[in-house]
Every structure is written in structure tokens, then in C-alpha cells.
């Protein structure tokens, strides 16, 4: 089913309402405007920030890091996840271990990434990768497990190879779960890269945001957060677009 006009309108309405509420809270003083600058102020600040070439460079740096980490983590995570789901033995060995790795706050390991990669592009990408891959693996495993046995039997009867089964049966039937996983992975990835930038860096938007926060520059901080959120949401919408294109067969 596609988003109908009403739903699109409702969505826009909700977005507007959110911003209106934000503006109202701040303007009426229900929330201390020093702590929650109004939406309009924040957006104006955002406009100013985007004028600055340094901020644009930071955004570009962060975006490159994020995309690189994502492009590495997703295929690799998906492959490992797939292997785990396909191979009982491998699964029994690796699944709990991966789960434990997933459950530890990753920021503990930030120093180790500096140890291995130094401070810079590789370290950000490395940490972004590290923050993302576990969730990709875990989600892929689930997605694989939700595939219907009868569809696999059919493919098997036609002599589908491993790769063919993967791409022609697993992939389409896992798609909804997988796209959701991609969405969540992107958020982990983004957070990972930003954390790495906050931890140690020479540039990148995370570094800026950390500074604004410590300096109690709430407008800039919120504008920065809106900026990052906007990037993530754009990505979300991209996936949604893929979703509507690919899943129309679902009723």
C-alpha cells in the first residue's frame, strides 16, 4: 500500500505541530528558553551555521566517514549474519559471543581504536563500523530465520545455488525486516562516528556538537542535533522509498 495523500498531509501536520509545540514551550516560558531555545531561533541558528564554510567542511567529513563505515559494515555484517543463520555450527559458536560483544557499551573501546588507527579518518570509520556491524549481524540472522521453509524447498527443487537462494529467495522475503535493520544500523553508525569524533578529532560535526554542549551554547547544540537528525532522516526516507518500491506485493 502506498502512502495516500491524507497520510502525507497528516505527516506534514505532525511535523508542523511538533515544531509549533516546541516554539510554544519555549516562547511561553513553560520550558526555560535558555535550556530550550525556540524552534525558530534554532532553525535560524542552523541557517547561520550552514553558511559557515567550516561547518560545511565538518559535515562533509562526517558524511564521508559515516558512508564509508556504513558501506563496509552492512555488506560484511549481512554476510556474517547470513552465514550464521545458514550454518548451525557456526551459529552455535558465534551467536552468543556476538551478542555479548553487542551488549557492551562500545565507547569503552574508543581508546583502543586510537591505539590501532591513530586519530583520524580510519579511527572514525573503524569505530562507526564497530558500532554498526553487530546490529547488522543480529538483524540479518533474524531476517533469515523469518523466511518460509516452503519457499526454500521450491528454490531447492529448481536447483538454486547458494547465491541464487540468497538473492532470489532470502533477500526478497527478508526485505521488510532487512530494511528496518538498515535504518537502525544507520543510526548506530551515525552515533558511533559522532561519538568517535567527540572523543578525539580535528574536524567533523560531532566534534563541533560536543564543544557547543560543553560551552552551554544551546542554540548551536540543538541546531547541530537537528542537522544530524536531518541527515539520518533523509537516509530513512531513502529506505522508505526503496521499501515502497519493493514491497508493493504485501497486502
Amino acid at each position: 500500500m502506498q502512502a495516500t495523500l491524507t497520510i502525507k498531509l497528516a505527516r506534514v501536520a505532525i511535523v508542523i505541530a511538533t515544531f509549533a509545540l516546541w516554539e510554544l514551550l519555549s516562547r511561553t516560558g513553560l520550558a526555560n528558553p535558555r535550556l530550550l531555545p525556540s524552534a525558530s531561533d534554532t532553525l535560524a541558528t542552523l541557517g547561520d551555521l550552514l553558511q559557515r564554510s567550516s561547518v560545511r567542511t565538518d559535515l562533509l567529513v562526517t558524511a564521508t566517514e559515516v558512508l564509508t563505515a556504513f558501506a563496509l559494515a552492512v555488506p560484511m555484517g549481512a554476510l556474517i549474519g547470513f552465514l550464521i543463520a545458514e550454518n548451525r555450527y557456526f551459529a552455535d559458536v558465534a551467536k552468543p559471543l556476538l551478542f555479548f560483544a553487542f551488549s557492551i557499551p562500545k565507547s569503552i573501546f574508543l581508546p583502543m581504536f586510537i591505539l590501532v588507527f591513530g586519530v583520524g579518518f580510519a579511527q572514525k570509520v573503524g569505530f562507526g563500523f564497530f558500532s554498526t556491524i553487530f546490529i547488522v549481524i543480529m538483524s540479518t540472522t533474524t531476517a533469515v530465520e523469518s523466511v518460509k521453509a516452503e519457499h526454500l524447498t521450491v528454490a531447492r527443487s529448481y536447483g538454486a545455488t547458494r547465491a541464487q537462494t540468497a538473492f532470489r529467495v532470502y533477500l526478497p522475503s527478508m526485505l521488510p525486516v532487512l530494511l528496518e535493520a538498515l535504518r537502525i544500523s544507520m543510526i548506530f553508525n551515525l552515533t558511533g562516528v559522532i561519538l568517535a569524533e567527540m572523543y578525539a578529532s580535528r574536524d567533523g560535526i560531532g566534534h563541533q556538537i560536543a564543544t557547543w554542549g560543553e560551552n552551554f551554547q544551546m542554540k548551536q547544540l540543538l541546531a547541530g542535533v537537528v542537522m544530524v537528525a536531518a541527515i539520518a532522516m533523509t537516509f530513512n526516507e531513502l529506505i522508505r522509498w526503496v521499501e515502497t518500491r519493493c514491497s508493493h506485493w504485501r497486502t
Binding site: L35, P111, I114, V119, A200, A210, E214, N215, F216
Partner: protein, 297 residues
């Protein structure tokens, strides 16, 4: 040419101003080296950065050097950067009537347990013979939680302290720059390995850094503008930062000076309050090999 990687504990902290001035005035170039500045999240992260080999010279308190030596990271302070907690203030919301002595049993915000602000809070407890709960709220949470009333007071660093004082949101009830006994709060630190392998680079680096301090003292307007730019704050607050912090910094940085060992010892003693157990003798923490010769701009 050699590159020296300078690790700075946060962006809006005076070491960044020093290093940036040195870069902008081309003092490193004049010494024949290149500098690469990296900003870390806090002092401990900076130290980890150096230990991981990502920074050659950093600014941190002696306590971390001491703790690091016990953990196999061999480094020393090569230059004395500051002998006081300039700009650090114990603040309460403007409307609050609390005095320092009234804080007994109250909640006081600090950035992180074991951090500089924690040490000052602990010192306050000891010195004023009161007891209060220290609540770590992170750098970003300090002022918001103070204003929201989640904490009754907070140990605020500069120039944030100046900023909120100026805006009238909070007021100072204790200025650590004057109240706390002078001790070596921060120095420039290098790994022993690096000092041995490239003593000349270290020497040149400290020359440039102290050249920057000299330059800043001599050029108020330029520096105030730089601070305002770097920290993204109004010039009047930048000026307060200049007057109350930059002007108080050590100008020669000589670790061989007579008052240094006692100042370092005091610094380590304070850190003990914060739970530091890994104390090494003062002479292991400092190096007197380098005496900065400020680079002329």
C-alpha cells in the same frame, strides 16, 4: 620537517588558545616544525590519546602522569603551564541565597567523578569542613542542571563560568583561582620515549607554546578576538577569559624552578582526595630537561 601532534583536553579551554595562537602566529614554523592540533573530550581522553601514540605533547594535570606511570605509560611534565584553577568557580543560581557553608547536605554538580572539578569539590569539602553530594553531570549538563535546580551548586570551568555570571543566570560563591592553594594544576606532558628520541622537537614545541603565551600577553586585542572566534562567544566574555585566565598562566614554564616540586606534590595530594591511588614520587612525574625559550613572533 618534524611534525608535533598537540593533544588538547577540550576546545574551549585555554591550552587551545595557546596552541591556536602558536599556529596562527606561525611560531611552530619559526621553530622549524609543523604542528597538528587534536581536541579530545577531556583530560583523561587526551592522556589516553598520547598513550595510544596519537599525540606527542599534551596538556594535563600531574595526577594523570602519576596514574599513567603505574599503568605502564611513561611520561613526564616538561613545562609548567598553570599554577592555579583560573576561572574555576563554585556557582549557584542567581536567585539562590546559598553560601558555601550552606552547602552541607546539598548537591553539587561536577563534570565527572575524578575530574578537575571533582577535585575542587573535594577540596571544598575538606577545606570548609562541610559535606555535600558530588553529582557528575558532564560538561554539557553542568549549567542546564544548575539552572533547572537539579543541583544546588556547580563547579564551573572557564569561560563558561564567566559567561553565565555575565548573563546573570548564576553567581559565584567561591573562586578557586584565589581560594585554592596554588599548585601545579596543569603542565605540558610528553612520553619519556619521545623526549629521548626527539628532545629537539620537544624543546622547539615548548618554545613555540611559550612564545604564544608571550604573544598573547602582549597583544590583548588580537587574543580577545581569537578567543571570541574560537569559543564562539561575545567579545566581553572573551575579554574576561583573557584577563582572568590567560594573563594568569605561567610565562616561563621552567620545571626546574624552586617552587615546582612542592606545587606538584600538592597537586598529587589533592588528587588523592579524588580516589587516585597510583601515586609516584614527584621526581618521577616531572622532567627538568627542557626550559622553554619563548619563540619571538
Amino acid at each position: 620537517t618534524d611534525t608535533i601532534r598537540v593533544g588538547l583536553p577540550t576546545k574551549t579551554y585555554w591550552p587551545t588558545t595557546i596552541a591556536e595562537t602558536a599556529v596562527r602566529q606561525k611560531l611552530f614554523e619559526k621553530e622549524g616544525i609543523k604542528a597538528e592540533l587534536t581536541v579530545y573530550r577531556s583530560g583523561a581522553e587526551t592522556f589516553e590519546g598520547m598513550a595510544a601514540g596519537a599525540a606527542d605533547i599534551i596538556l594535563d594535570p600531574p595526577s594523570l602522569v602519576s596514574a599513567g606511570r603505574k599503568k605502564g605509560v611513561m611520561s613526564r611534565i616538561v613545562a609548567n603551564a598553570a599554577m592555579g584553577n583560573f576561572g574555576w568557580q563554585l556557582m549557584v543560581p542567581t536567585k539562590s541565597t546559598l553560601e558555601v557553608k550552606d552547602l552541607n547536605g546539598k548537591k553539587v554538580g561536577i563534570t565527572a567523578a575524578g575530574s578537575g572539578s571533582d577535585l575542587l569539590a573535594l577540596w571544598t569539602i575538606q577545606d570548609k569542613k562541610i559535606d555535600f553530594t558530588r553529582v557528575p553531570v558532564g560538561g554539557g549538563g553542568l549549567v542546564p542542571n544548575l539552572l533547572a535546580g537539579n543541583v544546588d551548586a556547580a563547579v564551573v570551568y572557564s569561560p563558561l563560568s564567566f559567561q553565565v555570571a555575565k548573563s546573570g543566570e548564576a553567581k559565584t560563591i567561591l573562586d578557586y583561582a584565589t581560594a585554592a592553594p596554588p599548585n601545579l594544576t596543569a603542565g605540558w606532558i610528553v612520553l619519556d620515549k619521545f623526549a629521548e628520541a626527539k628532545p629537539d622537537v620537544v624543546q622547539k614545541a615548548v618554545n613555540a607554546l611559550y612564545g604564544a603565551v608571550q604573544f598573547m600577553r602582549a597583544n590583548r586585542d588580537v587574543t580577545v578576538k581569537l578567543i571570541a572566534d574560537l569559543y564562539e562567544m561575545p567579545p566581553e566574555i572573551a575579554a574576561m577569559e583573557y584577563d582572568n585566565t590567560i594573563m594568569k598562566l605561567e610565562t616561563d614554564g621552567d620545571m626546574g624552578a624552586a617552587n615546582v616540586p612542592a606545587a606538584v606534590q600538592l597537586s598529587l595530594d589533592l588528587a588523592k582526595l579524588g580516589g587516585l591511588k597510583d601515586i609516584v614520587p614527584v621526581e618521577d612525574v616531572i622532567s627538568t630537561k627542557f626550559k622553554p625559550v619563548p619563540t619571538k613572533p
